[in-house]
Symmetry: C2
C-alpha cells in the first residue's frame, strides 16, 4: 500500500502530532531494530520542525536511539490498537521476537537507515539533538524532523481527513493501561 | 458549579493530559492575570507528576510564569472552543481586556495564588522547575504538578468519562489555525 504514502512538507510536519496522538517510536543500531509505544510525545517547534518524546531508561528502543542518534516517530491507527499495546507492554530485552509476536512489519525509506512501521498514518524521521541533561534527568529526548510522510488517504494537503475515511484510521490517544480514546469529530471555530 | 470539582490524586494527574488535549495556560504576577492556549503540552513524569509546555517568547503569559514561577494547566472543553481560539490568537499586550472579551472567568483555589479558568474539565497547579537552557533555547517549560482537580462529571475514579456526558464536554485537540478535533470513542485493548 506504499502507493498512498506521500511526503509532507517540513513546515506542515507539526500537524501530524499537534492533536496529541500516542505514537510508535522505532530505531535501529548494529543490525537491531526495535519499536515501542509512547504516549508522551509532543511537537516542539515549527521550522525546522522539532519534537519531544519521553523514553524510559528501561526501554531497548532508547538505547538504540542513543547509539544511532536517529529515530522514527510514527502515528498508529485504531486498526493497530493491539500492536500498540503489545509493543508498549513488552521489551525486546525480555522478548527477542517481540516485533513478530505483535505483527509489526517494517519498511525502508531511501536515504534513512531506520525501520518504518507498516500501516501507520504518518511517519517523522528524526535526528536526535543530543541533550544529556534532558535525557538523563527527565528521560526527555528532542528530535529534529528531517523528513515526514503520511498516508494520503487520511492526511493530505496539510490536513487530517479522518471524517472521510473508515474509523479504523482514527488516531489513538492513551489514558492509562489498555484504555484509549480514538480521535473524534472535526470542530472549527469561527473566531 | 464548583460542587462538582474534586481533587485528583497526584499519582493519577498524568491521566488528565496523556490523551493529548490542547490546554489553557494561566498565570498571575503583580496583580496581572493572563490566560493563553497551548497545543504543545505533554506529561513528563508520573510521581511526582511533571509536564512540559511550549510557551512562545511573544506571550504575556510566559512573562508571568517566569516572574512568578507558577502556572496552571487546564483542560478546556468543546463548549469553550471560541474562548480557546480567542485567548490563543490575541495577546494581553495588545488587548488589555482580552480575558473579558473572550468570556474568560477565573476562580481561586485556597493555597494557590493563581487564576483557574471556569468551565474547564481539569486543572493542574504547577511549580516551574527553572531550566534556563530549555526555556531560552526551546521555549520549553517544565512544571511539577503540586495539585490537580477535575470536574467529577467528566473525570472520576481516575478515568475520563466522555462517553457518559454531553459531547460539549469533549476535550479539544488542535491541528492548525481554527481546526480542531474533539476526542472520540473509548477503545480498549484486550492484550
Amino acid at each position: 500500500m506504499h502507493e498512498f504514502i506521500a511526503p509532507v512538507a517540513l513546515d506542515k510536519a507539526y500537524r501530524l502530532i499537534t492533536h496529541g496522538p500516542t505514537v510508535l517510536v522505532s530505531a535501529r543500531h548494529a543490525g537491531v531494530d526495535d519499536v515501542m509505544a509512547a504516549a508522551w510525545a509532543c511537537a516542539l517547534d515549527f521550522q525546522p520542525p522539532k519534537l519531544t518524546v519521553v523514553l524510559d531508561k528501561a526501554t531497548r528502543t532508547r538505547a538504540l536511539v542513543e547509539a544511532s542518534g536517529r529515530f522514527v516517530i510514527q502515528v498508529p491507527t485504531r486498526a493497530q490498537l493491539d500492536l500498540v499495546v503489545g509493543v508498549g507492554s513488552h521489551s525486546l530485552a525480555d522478548m527477542p521476537d517481540k516485533l513478530a509476536r505483535f505483527g509489526v512489519s517494517t519498511f525502508e525509506q531511501p536515504g534513512h537507515a531506520l525501520p518504518f512501521v507498516e500501516g501507520c498514518a504518518a511517519w517523522l524521521a528524526c535526528r536526535l539533538l543530543c541533550e544529556p541533561h534532558n535525557q538523563q534527568c527527565h528521560d526527555l529526548f528532542i528530535g529534529e524532523v528531517e523528513a515526514a510522510w503520511a498516508d494520503g488517504r487520511v492526511f493530505r494537503d496539510g490536513r487530517w481527513r479522518f471524517e472521510d475515511v473508515d474509523p479504523a484510521w482514527r488516531t489513538l490517544h492513551h489514558v492509562a493501561g489498555g484504555q484509549f480514546y480514538a480521535i473524534g469529530q472535526a470542530v472549527r471555530s469561527e473566531q
